[in-house]
Symmetry: C2
Subunit: 374 residues, 2 copies
C-alpha cells in the first residue's frame, strides 16, 4: 500500500469534500499513473484515490482496500446499488464522474452493452481493469470505449474509440426506458439517449394527453415518444441531424406509433419556429431541448432566449424548456425564461437531471428543465 | 369599467411581471377595496386587477372582462386546466397565490371540500364571490375559509375560520393521492396534506422497496405511507403532534397496512435521533421533513444541520432531506447539506414543490427536497 502524506490546504480540500488533491499539496514520491494511493495526514487516513497527472483523484474517503481492483469494484457496486434503489435497469448511467466519486469516468449501460468515457490520463491507464469490473458488476457482455469528448484534447489526451470487451460487431441495441423502446447505436455519430432527461420526459407523458406536441431539437425522439406514450394526438419532431432522425423513425416503428400521429421535419429549429409563427400554427405543448448552446456558442444565451420566446409564441398550454449548458447556472436559466416569456405564464416546476446523474459539493447540476403552464 | 392610469415605475413593474402595483404609481381616484380596475398607460391596456390597501393586485395582463365575477372565474378556470393537464384530481392546490396570478389567495381542493385562505384585505372582501366560483369551476359542494395564517396579523387582518358554502358539519374527508388514501380534517389544528411534497413522496415510493424507513416529522404520514406503498418492510413514524398521529393511525387503517410493519413514536425528532444513534440502530432510508425552522426559529439553520447530520448518522442507503423555509434559499439549503453530511454521499436529485405550486418571476420556490444516496 502506497501512503502519501497530505499537507495544509490539501487536508482542508479533502475535508471540504473535494476530489482532486493537487501535487503541490502532497509529499513527493515516485508514483505511476493510475496507481492506488492512500492519503494520510499524521497517520490519520483521509481517503483513497488514484495518481493522475495533476495529483490524486479521490475515489473513497475510507482507507484503501487491498488492491486497485477492489477499489474499482467497490465504487461500481455502490453506484449500481443506488441505481437499483431508484428502480433503474436496462438503460441507465452507472457512473457519473465526480458525482459518483469516480472523477474522470462516465459509464452508461444500454442493455448488454456498457459505454465508457474517460477524461483523465489515470482512467485511461486503468480502462481495462474498469471494463472488466463493469462487466462483472452489471452483467453486460460488451464494453466499448467512446472517449471522444472535447475535454480530452484540453487535457492532452487523444480520442479513443474501441471495443474493450466482447466480439460483437453489432453495436445497435434495443432498450426499454420507462415503458418506451429505443434503438441506441453506441457507435453512432452521437451516442446514447440523453438519459439525464428521463424523469422530465415522464412528466411530459403526463401533461401530453390528447395534445398536439412540438418536439424541437428532437434528436431520436425522447420527449415526443413520451408524449405519444402519454396519449398525445399528434407530435411534430424537428431536428437537423439525419442520423438522429433515422433512429427516430425506427423508434416510432418499435413503439407501434401510427404514421398519421407523426410529422418529421428535417430543419433548423429557429427557422421552423419562424415559419410556424408566420403560418399562425400552434401546439398544445412545446418542448425545447437544444444542445449546449451557451457552452458552444458565443451568443448562446440569446439563442436560448429566442428559442424559448419562439416556443411561447407557438405554444398554447404548456412549455417544456431545457438547457444543458454547464455555463448557464440555474438562476441564469430562470432569468432567460423570465425575459423570454410573454405573460401570462406559470412556472409549474423546475427540475434537473435524473437521479443516475448525481452531484456533490462543488458540482452544479448542468441540466435545467422548466415546466411552464400558460 | 374603471380605468386607472399607471405612471413611470409602475409601468416598468408591470412589464417586469410584478403583480403588486403600489398606490404611488397610479392615478388617484376613489376606488373601493376589491373593486376591479383596468390599468392603462396612454390608452394602452397593461392589465387587470383588484384594488387593495396597498394598490392594485394584478390578476391578468389582458384587458378586464365585463365583470369581476368573470375575472375571478377566468383565473380559476385557467388554474384548474393546468392541474387537469398534470393529471391532478381529488386532492390538489387549485390556486397558489402569485404563482397562479392570484395574489393573496390560496385554494386547496380535498375531494368535495375547498379550503380557501386569504392574506389580503381585497380578497377578504371578495371571498364570497370567489367561493361561489370555486364551487362552480371545481364542483365541490362545500367551501370553507381558513384564513388563520400569521401574515394576516402583519397586514392588520383578523383570523377568519368559517363555512362559506355548504351546510355539512363533518369536515373530515377521505382523499386519494397517487394511489394512497388519506383522511384530511380541514378543521383540524393544522390542515391539509402538504400537497407540495406530492411528487417527492412518489420518488420516495420508488426508493423504498424492501427497506426499513424512518419518517421524521412524519405529521399524518405522507412520506412513510408512500414508502409502505412502494414496498418498505418497516416504517418508523416520529412526530410530537398527537392530532397528527391520530390521523396517521387512521390513514394506516385506510390503506390496510399491517401493524407489524409500523412503529409510531410520539417524540421530539432530535431526541429520537440521539437515542437511535446511542443504540446504534439504523435505517435503509431516512426522511427529514421539518416545519419551517429557519422562518420560525432564530437558530433554524443550525437545527436543519443537526437534523440532516442525525439522518446521515442513522441512514444506511438513502436520505430524503427537506426544507420548506422561505428564508432558506436553494443554495443555502445545499450548503446546509454539504456541511452536515459525512462522506461518502451523492446528491441524486434536488426537487422543489409539486406542479400545483407554481412560481413566477420574483417568487422563489420555498420547498427544497434533496435525495441523497450513500
Amino acid at each position: 500500500m502506497l501512503h502519501v502524506e497530505v499537507y495544509g490546504d490539501g487536508v482542508k480540500a479533502i475535508e471540504r469534500g473535494e476530489l482532486i488533491i493537487y501535487k503541490r499539496w502532497v509529499e513527493k514520491k515516485p508514483i505511476k499513473l493510475g496507481q492506488m494511493v492512500e492519503l494520510v495526514s499524521e497517520d490519520y487516513v483521509l481517503g483513497c484515490g488514484i495518481w493522475d497527472r495533476i495529483g490524486v483523484r479521490i475515489l473513497s474517503f475510507e482507507p484503501c482496500p487491498s488492491s486497485i481492483d477492489d477499489l474499482i469494484e467497490e465504487n461500481l457496486m455502490r453506484a449500481k446499488k443506488l441505481r437499483e434503489r431508484v428502480g433503474y435497469w436496462n438503460a441507465y448511467r452507472l457512473v457519473h464522474g465526480d458525482g459518483d466519486l469516480f472523477p474522470g469516468l462516465v459509464v452508461d449501460i444500454y442493455k448488454d452493452i456498457a459505454v465508457l468515457q474517460s477524461s483523465s490520463a489515470a482512467i485511461d491507464v486503468l480502462v481495462d481493469k474498469i471494463a472488466a469490473k463493469v462487466k462483472k458488476v452489471t452483467g453486460v457482455d460488451t464494453v466499448v470505449e467512446k472517449s471522444v469528448q472535447r475535454v480530452r484534447s484540453k487535457a492532452g489526451l487523444r480520442p479513443r474509440e474501441r471495443t474493450l470487451i466482447g466480439s460483437k460487431k453489432e453495436t445497435v441495441v434495443e432498450v426499454d426506458v420507462e415503458g418506451i423502446k429505443y434503438k441506441v447505436d453506441v457507435r453512432g455519430r452521437k451516442t446514447g439517449l440523453y438519459l439525464d432527461q428521463r424523469e422530465n420526459r415522464v412528466l411530459a407523458q403526463r401533461i401530453s394527453k390528447n395534445s398536439s406536441f412540438l418536439d424541437l431539437f428532437s434528436y431520436t425522439g425522447g420527449f415526443g415518444l413520451n408524449a405519444l406514450h402519454g396519449g398525445a394526438k399528434k407530435v411534430v419532431f424537428v431536428d437537423t441531424d439525419e442520423q438522429a432522425l433515422k433512429l427516430l423513425r425506427e423508434n416510432l416503428k418499435l413503439n407501434n406509433i401510427p404514421e398519421n400521429k407523426v410529422e418529421i421535419v428535417k430543419e433548423d429549429a429557429w427557422k421552423y419556429l419562424r415559419k410556424t409563427m408566420k403560418r399562425r400554427r400552434s401546439f398544445d405543448v412545446v418542448s425545447v431541448d437544444p444542445p449546449a448552446l451557451m457552452d458552444d456558442l458565443r451568443n448562446g444565451y440569446e439563442l436560448y432566449r429566442s428559442a424559448y420566446a419562439g416556443a411561447r409564441a407557438v405554444g398554447r398550454n404548456f412549455l417544456i424548456l431545457s438547457s444543458c449548458s454547464r455555463s448557464m447556472s440555474r438562476s441564469l436559466f430562470l432569468k432567460a425564461i423570465y425575459e423570454s416569456l410573454d405573460e401570462p405564464y406559470r412556472v409549474m416546476e423546475v427540475r434537473g437531471s435524473a437521479p443516475d446523474h448525481p452531484t456533490r459539493v462543488g458540482i452544479e447540476d448542468y441540466l435545467k428543465t422548466a415546466f411552464i403552464g400558460i
